[in-house]
């Protein structure tokens, strides 16, 4: 037979993949250059499903790239720039070696450089695509802006990152886009909503600096290069969407802007017109209920955005100034700090109109009367709770309530920490009775929060029984004194009635189910009840723990 036999590894997945070294040789680049190119273009290695086939029978661990991706890379114009750079380095070394310093100067002035604009345009064809990917770039830029300017990585990169992050923060302040803040042991997590996209980013603490050695700095620097370009373009577009000048014009330099205390200049300074509220008509397919729900949400959002409106804050020296200034200004408050801490402070500590003074020490020397001295957690908790919380729990020297994570969504029946329940109650408008023990309240609220239907029913039944007994007793008493009194109108609680009706309907529906369905239903309910039982157990544990703490405290105070 001729050569028409099918040979192994000539078709199929074996020809779709290419190893890293082969790809590098095909592109004629060195390994660090190849890696940099892949990172910039967004080409990632793939793990093939059948490694043996692709690796032509062996199972050695190799890095595989798709062949089509590498072929796409061949058309990239910056590959030429990489080769130019290699030649530049070689010439520079030669000039140094021959100590021809004028040549060195000349070469340095004509150093080849590349631009990443076309890559950004290619990877993110629309603005919304870019916004979706901004999480990573924000984290990287914030991280790099906290680096020390020692020269390990280019100082210009650090400066550029600082500029971009400050611009971003100013944009968020102006558009009041911040929604959630979480202070963790790693750093501070922020979440903002920009043009319908939820963006989460992590800001490290300013004072944590251990540079681990097993991190590849070149890779991180390449990523940062790409991300700074991306963030810059996004900032430009965002600023223009709000009619602000970009690059932002503040009277002084970047340092004044980074103080986050001044507002940005607008392109056309128009008088702010009050938009007349338009009548909203329901879209197709939406009922009025949904529309109303949406309106309610929007109103809540508007209220949330003006959380700190009218409040004046002053930050003491030991609190994290930038984070607090950012958060406070995002919600409409005014903030200032001591002049020696940073430039840009608008008013002094002696100003009489300050409403809240944020301190982190156990006590303060001089106390003004008409302002609250609170710990910084109050600000963050208010933001997460979307209301202005009562200040009493956050006074100096008071043990703070725990800082709960706003990124946790509790489902039905899950354990809800009592602090969160209190906050939810506050949100609904109920005020906790002052001077009462918190625990009793929590228990009542917990029992009220249980959304388990049967428990509610049981409670109602219990209540009814108790009520019956009481009424019986009353009746017996009243029999002795029989009088005719004007009848009292029974105020029927319509909400309660509705609940009762619903419960009745549910019971009927359960009775009418088929055996099989009933079996499934029982199984589901059993599972739900289990969760609730666990939650109750945890709550009991928490109560025991709190009791123990209290008794300990009492013992201490007695001593």
């Amino acid at each position: 037979m001729g050569g028409l036999q099918k040979k192994k590894y000539e078709r199929g997945s074996a020809t779709n993949y290419i190893t890293r070294n082969k790809a590098r040789k095909k592109l004629q680049l060195s390994l660090p250059d190849f890696r940099r190119l892949c990172i910039l273009k967004g080409i990632y290695p793939h793990e093939p499903k059948h490694k043996k086939k692709v690796n032509k029978g062996s199972t050695a661990a190799r890095t595989f790239y798709l062949l089509k991706d590498i072929r796409f890379l061949l058309h990239e114009p910056i590959v030429r720039k990489f080769r130019d750079y290699k030649v530049f380095v070689r010439k520079l070394k030669k000039a140094y070696g021959k100590t021809e310093y004028s040549d060195v100067e000349r070469l340095r002035e004509n150093k080849p450089s590349y631009k990443l604009d076309h890559i950004i345009k290619e990877r993110y064809p629309t603005f919304i695509d870019a916004l979706r990917d901004i999480d990573d770039s924000l984290c990287m830029c914030f991280l790099f802006s906290t680096f020390a300017r020692t020269g390990k990585c280019h100082v210009q990169t650090i400066q550029l990152c600082r500029r971009l992050t400050v611009e971003w923060m100013n944009f968020v302040i102006t558009s009041r886009a911040l929604r959630k803040v979480f202070i963790s042991i790693k750093g501070i997590y922020y979440q903002a909503e920009v043009m319908g996209q939820l963006i989460t980013w992590l800001v490290p603490y300013q004072f944590s600096h251990d540079h681990p050695t097993d991190v590849d700095y070149r890779v991180m620097a390449t990523f940062t290069e790409l991300y700074t370009t991306l963030l810059g373009f996004i900032n430009f577009r965002l600023y223009h969407s709000l009619n602000l000048l970009y690059p932002p014009k503040v009277s002084l330099s970047l340092t004044k802007l980074s103080a986050l205390s001044s507002s940005l200049a607008r392109v056309v300074s128009t008088a702010e017109e009050e938009e007349a509220e338009l009548d909203q008509f329901p879209d197709e397919g939406e009922d009025i209920e949904k529309l109303e729900a949406r309106e309610k949400e929007q109103k809540q959002l508007e209220a949330q955005k003006k959380l700190f409106d009218g409040l004046k804050f002053f930050l003491n020296r030991e609190v994290p100034r930038e984070s607090l200034a950012f958060v406070i200004r995002c919600f409409g408050g005014e903030v200032s700090w001591d002049k020696s801490v940073c430039i840009g402070s608008t008013y002094e500590v002696t100003d009489e109109t300050i409403t809240h003074h944020i301190v982190d020490r156990p006590n303060v020397d001089k106390q003004y009367i008409n302002r609250y001295y609170i710990q910084p957690q109050w600000v963050y908790d208010c933001v997460n709770a979307k209301i202005v919380l009562p200040v009493e729990d956050y006074f100096l020297g008071v043990t703070l309530p725990p800082h709960l994570s706003p990124f946790v969504e509790e489902k039905d029946g899950d354990y809800v920490p009592p602090e969160k329940l209190k906050i939810m109650a506050l949100q609904r408008g109920e005020k906790p009775a002052h001077g009462q023990e918190d625990e009793e309240e929590e228990e009542d609220e917990e029992e009220g929060e249980d959304e388990e239907e049967e428990d509610d029913n049981e409670e109602e039944e219990d209540d009814e029984e108790e009520a019956d007994e009481k009424s019986l007793k009353k009746m017996e008493e009243q029999r002795s004194k029989v009088k005719v009194t004007p009848g009292k109108m029974k105020v029927e609680n319509p909400a309660r009635l509705e609940e009762e009706e619903k419960a009745e309907e549910k019971r009927l529906a359960i009775m009418m189910m088929k055996k099989k369905e009933k079996y499934l239903y029982d199984k589901i309910m059993f599972g739900k009840k289990r969760k609730v039982r666990e939650a109750n157990k945890l709550a009991a544990k928490r109560k025991a723990h709190d009791d123990a703490e209290k008794s300990k405290k009492k013992k201490k105070t007695r001593k």
């Binding site: 290695p45 796409f72 540079h211 373009f233 970009y246």
Partner: protein, 458 residues
Amino acid sequence: MAPGRRLKRVVASQPGFINLKSTSDPGSGRRKRVNKNKKKSWNKHSDINDVDAFLEDVRHQERTTGGLLSEKSDDSLFFLDIGQPKKPEPKVAEPVEGKKRKGKTSRPLRIDLILQHDSLIQPPKDVLAYQQPNAKKLRRIGQKAEQLAAKGVVPRRQKQLLNRRPVNRTAKKAVTEANNNPDRDYYDIWGQESKDQGDSWYLQQTGKKLVKRPEKLNEKPSVLPAVEVIAPGGSYNPDFFSHQALLQEAHKVEVKRQKEEDKIERQLAVNREDTATEETILREQVEGLVEEENEEEAPPNEEEEDVAVGAISLADKKTERQRKKERADKIKAQRRLANRRHNDQRQQLFQLRSIKASIKQQDQKTMDKQTQRKANEEAQKAQPRRLGKLKFQAQDMEVQLSDELAGSLRQLKPEGSVLKDRFKSLQKRNLIEPRERAKFKRRLKLKYVEKRAFREIT
């Protein structure tokens, strides 16, 4: 070289030395006649010591006093002794620079003194230093320029210099065009509509058009989100239960690690009784050396070998009868099988229900397996892929123990490094492959040589 100065090599010819051939005889005053016309003989045979001494004296006077003593005035040489002069006024304390010496003025250093000129004669001037080869020409040019300037005429060169525009010193091109220039400009990259520069074919052929990006590259390599928020127990002031939950998870990880270590240790464990004792070592060494036991064992071995090993009988050829029988048997068996199958098929009609049940079961099994496989695939998607030689090592959980928790934001000690976290996140999302630092490998082996001193000792 003056002949008087030359060191008289021959001792005998030095002054003061009595000649060997002493001419005590006054009569023989016949000295050898020397011709003093040539320089050589004149140098040898003339004595200029007196001239030398005189000149030395003159030079000495000039060195020490700056001129001939005979030419100095009387006042410089002599003074009239009138008596004790008045004590001079106490000197004003001069501000001493540097070190303060109480009462003593600082003396100059000895080495400075040594290096100073100690003679009063000026060192000679270096004439060459004052010579300029074209001094006359330069002087002429200078004079001419002065004359022209006095007249007000501006020469052409100067006019051109004055007319030249000042140089625009712009920032270096490399710095401004660099990607990480802190003052770089951004523009609206998404707003501009693409300008039609020309024919698309032309653009493609000349390499000006960018190649379209394949669709597959727009998919994200992992379903994990870019930023994973830490569990609520990671708050700086956490709620009791969430903190316990986080500690529990960290504990689980540690337990797992401990289990693996224990497993390895168990596998490596050796039974104490198996270790060699002296007795067993001795027994091993002595084995086979004691001859009595060997002889007893030899004969029983030989007897055993005689036992017949195999009863392999060769097969005879098959007879016709046998073949016929075989054929008949075969047919019977086939018929039986066919019958059986037929019967089975008929009976299956009555087994329909159980057949249905078994089919249902199988279907259920396959469906379960399918759902399970799909769930596994989904779970796999969230896992980091194996992209190279190294496996992905998840970082340690960031947890603060109960006694490390800070009461306030000021006392908070951050845990973990965000840089490492981001790096690991990039690896987890399959954007980069896990790599370790490249080791330094030497191409040629190092050779260690002892120093000579040490080689002698050892």
